[in-house]
């Protein structure tokens, strides 16, 4: 057994439930996954986040066993997974389009995994009942999937996977077919369900808000490579790259020149502890910029004057687009009323995060 490379992002081997080692996947000449390594801890809620075509679903399908990796290995609890057929893996999947069996009733769907693995009849009955109860679908036990709404089908799909007590549950954009309100509700239920039963979840989504709301950690994929893996707070507050900063929430990317511990971008100047001189890219979140109070001069904040170009009211906050001597910046501030003309703004140098381009 080769040890996974240790870095600050990876877990030690004995904690990891799933261990993806240098996995690559090519479809013809297309490199869909390029040398991915990641570990998932037992009981963790990890989200694979990325645009369509980033390879997140392919990685999920490699773990489920529907595709074979071109190179690399996948291990789960000391067992090599990638050489096993899908029906021998203790992994279950909640499919994007639910994939419920149309010829079976809700309870037959849920019982399917137990039936084919020859669990005793009485136990099947008890576990199906218990699981349907857990997803609040017990009253639909005899219904056909076609009679159910999208949200209900979603619950059945979840029950059908969970009833097998998998070590790892894979969820392939399970909420993307639901409308916005139901999606929010299901997010909450999914999160509390995961806490309750303690099964490890590997969740795939392209929706960064969903990823933030649900995950213990987010693995952000871009063009088949792992861009960053960190907790939602870390990934938001300390994005490693400009891509991450832009994908997870909004940001201002500042092309600055560092010279002697001071970064300069247009008329903005702020101290930085990056010593290396030369060009650098900084991410500054819109909400890190605030309207500077008239009297609070002399603090460590970077102050600058900018002209308000546009103001968009969005309920609890105002989105501003300001012009700072030719540099366009996005600013988000608490609701204040209409603003016009030139104002003084400020941000803390610590909020300008150096990112790789």
């Amino acid at each position: 057994m080769s040890q996974p490379p240790s870095s600050s992002d990876s877990l030690s081997v004995d904690e990891a439930l799933l261990d993806v080692r240098n996995v690559a996947k090519h479809f013809g000449s297309q490199n869909v996954l390029k040398n991915i390594s990641l570990q998932i801890a037992s009981g963790e809620f990890l989200t694979l986040l990325g645009e369509s075509g980033s390879g997140k679903t392919t990685l999920l399908r490699l773990i489920a066993g529907f595709e074979q990796p071109t190179s690399g290995e996948i291990w789960m609890s000391g067992v090599r997974l990638d050489t096993l057929p899908p029906y021998r893996r203790r992994v279950n999947t909640v499919f994007q389009q639910y994939a419920l069996f149309p010829h079976l009733s809700v309870q037959e769907n849920v019982a399917y995994g137990l039936h084919v693995t020859r669990v005793a009849k009485t136990e099947i009955c008890a576990r199906v009942h218990e699981t349907l109860h857990m997803v609040k679908m017990q009253e639909f036990a005899d219904a056909r999937p076609a009679w159910l709404s999208g949200g209900q089908q979603q619950r059945v799909a979840l029950a059908r996977a969970l009833v097998n007590r998998p070590q790892l549950l894979l969820l392939d954009e399970p909420l993307s077919a639901l409308d916005a309100n139901l999606r929010k509700q299901m997010q909450g239920e999914l999160k509390s369900l995961q806490r309750e039963i303690g099964i490890t979840f590997l969740f795939v989504t392209h929706d960064q808000e969903e990823a933030m709301a649900l995950s213990d950690r987010i693995a952000l994929l871009r063009d088949g490579a792992l861009e960053q893996i960190a907790s939602p707070r870390d990934i938001y507050a300390r994005p490693a790259t400009a891509y991450v900063a832009q994908f997870v929430g909004q940001t201002n990317l500042l092309r600055a020149e560092i010279c002697g511990g001071v970064a300069t971008c247009g008329i903005l100047r702020w101290p930085t502890h990056f010593i290396a001189n030369g060009a650098a890219l900084f991410s500054l979140r819109p909400e890190a910029i605030r309207l500077a109070p008239e009297d609070a001069a002399g603090t460590a904040a970077v102050r600058f004057r900018a002209v308000i170009r546009q103001q968009i009211f969005s309920g609890s906050s105002e989105q501003l687009e300001v012009d700072c001597a030719g540099l366009a910046l996005r600013v988000r501030i608490p609701t204040l009323g209409a603003l016009t003309g030139e104002h003084e703004f400020a941000f803390s140098p610590a909020d300008a995060v150096l990112v790789r381009s």
Binding site: G65, F95, Q97, L100, P102
Partner: protein, 281 residues
């Protein structure tokens, strides 16, 4: 909204067609079955004599039973050939799918008669099979039971109707969402278990449709017994044909036709009910 004139113009041709070429002939057939023949003329005198004859003379029942046996064999063999083919093409043929599909369809473009004569040359005493057997010295004389036997009829009809079984089967297999198969495997079902629990049940509508095609079409076939069947494999349609032809007993022929028609309608009704019961979307 469409005007009444438009509706009339649009619906008239199909109504005329169905009326003239379907209902009128059936009505004539039904009427004939209650008439009788006297001195070489059809007498329009209502009676049940023809139906009585059908039940009194055991020949008709024997031939009907043989016909159904042949049709059932053809159905079974076409399914046995068509299902694996459709299954392979739908799930494993990959890029060869289109080519294979064409290959299955192409025989349908060849005339039924040509294919019948082809079987005659293959199975006959001067035929390919006998020539080969004699070349191998398996036999010294041509084997005669290949041709002019129910076996030959079943063989020829199976060849002809397998594409008809294949097409609805293939369509129903193609309609099975592939993620259901992945879901089944994901839940721990082996490929074998997945086939019997997911693929087979979901392909039942196509299987029923194909079986109905093969059975009903074989039931009414009269060319195969003529070409390759011989006297031992006369089918019910041959009797109808001779009654309408040389025997000139249209009323008796019509009464057999009515019976076959009722049998077929009952069968179609039954399979449609079954098909509805096993289609889920």
């Amino acid at each position: 909204m469409y005007s009444r004139a438009y509706k009339l113009i649009v619906s008239l041709p199909p109504l005329l067609w169905v009326g003239l070429f379907l209902f009128l002939p059936y009505a004539l057939m039904l009427a004939h079955s209650f008439w009788l023949v006297r001195d070489g003329f059809i007498v329009h005198q209502w009676n049940l004599q023809n139906y009585a004859k059908l039940f009194q003379n055991p020949v008709y029942l024997t031939v009907l039973l043989r016909t159904m046996r042949i049709a059932a064999s053809v159905t079974f063999l076409s399914l046995a050939l068509g299902y694996p083919l459709a299954y392979y093409m739908s799930f494993h043929a990959g890029a060869r799918k289109d080519l294979l599909y064409q290959l299955v369809i192409v025989p349908l473009w060849v005339s039924y008669l040509v294919r019948g004569y082809a079987w005659k040359t293959i199975l006959g005493s001067e035929g390919v099979v006998n020539g080969f057997l004699q070349y191998l010295h398996v036999t010294n004389e041509p084997v005669s039971f290949f041709l002019y036997s129910p076996f030959a009829v079943v063989l020829m009809l199976t060849h002809i109707y397998t594409p008809f079984v294949f097409l609805p089967l293939y369509a129903s297999l193609e309609h099975i969402p592939r993620n259901l198969i992945e879901a089944s495997q994901d839940l721990g079902a082996s490929p074998r278990s997945t086939f019997f629990r997911v693929i087979l049940p979901l392909s039942l509508p196509g299987l029923l449709a194909g079986a109905t095609f093969a059975f009903v079409l074989s039931l009414g076939d009269f060319l195969a017994p003529l070409l390759v069947g011989g006297p031992s494999s006369i089918m019910i349609a041959n009797i109808v044909q001779s009654l309408f032809g040389t025997a000139f007993d249209w009323p008796l022929g019509a009464s057999i036709s009515v019976c076959i028609l009722l049998l077929t309608i009952a069968l179609l009704f039954l399979t449609e009910r079954l098909e509805k019961r096993c289609s889920f979307r």
